[in-house]
Amino acid sequence: AQSVTQLDSHVSVSEGTPVLLRCNYSSSYSPSLFWYVQHPNKGLQLLLKYTSAATLVKGINGFEAEFKKSETSFHLTKPSAHMSDAAEYFCVVTPYTGRRALTFGSGTRLQVQP
């Protein structure tokens, strides 16, 4: 079985400051890990994914995440927040097996203050 814990339900940062959204996972298998973003009234957009290649993964819009197996973490970071980054962010895991179902975290709402 697999699960995902997003440690913060809300994060507020000032524009131009770094962003850190925390995610810990649990998986019986070597997992694939994803970050998705959801802007209001929009679908779920893939930011980045880890699939057992490089542990530091770069995504769209300047986001990146580092897979740390020893800490079972996959935290999402961005050096400098932009107002357009305000959205809901989901950490997602799927086991690297034949199962296709994604397991979502509860989400982190990112607010960016001017």
Partner: protein
């Protein structure tokens, strides 16, 4: 960029009625999925569909639910005899090889 299209964006139905949520996946994708998000809760997996049959389903996906690919382009979720607790945002997704998913913008279902 190719998109997954869901219709309608909002649906209001009376308790006990049947609803059909519609999705048009990306044309060359082979795997199709439904997820739902009850307000304030996590996004939950419902069902995956491949090669014209259900390949995986969750405990939520009971006899009240069914999926169908009636033609070469649509993928539908039918909910029979809707209940208040079926109110949620329903997301359709598709993928080419079962790893990279593209989600639609969702259908908000309200059961009254």
């Amino acid at each position: 960029e190719p998109e997954v299209t869901q219709t309608p964006s909002h649906q209001v139905t009376q308790m006990g009625q049947e609803v059909i949520l519609r999705c048009v996946p990306i044309s060359n994708h082979l795997y199709f999925y439904w997820y739902r998000q009850i307000l304030g809760q996590k996004v939950e997996f419902l069902v995956s569909f491949y090669n014209n049959e259900i390949s995986e389903k969750s405990e939520i996906f009971d006899d009240q639910f069914s999926v169908e690919r009636p033609d070469g382009s649509n993928f539908t979720l039918k909910i029979r005899s809707t209940k208040l607790e079926d109110s949620a945002m329903y997301f359709c997704a598709s993928s080419e090889f079962g790893q990279h998913y593209t989600f639609g913008s969702g259908t908000r279902l309200t059961v009254v």
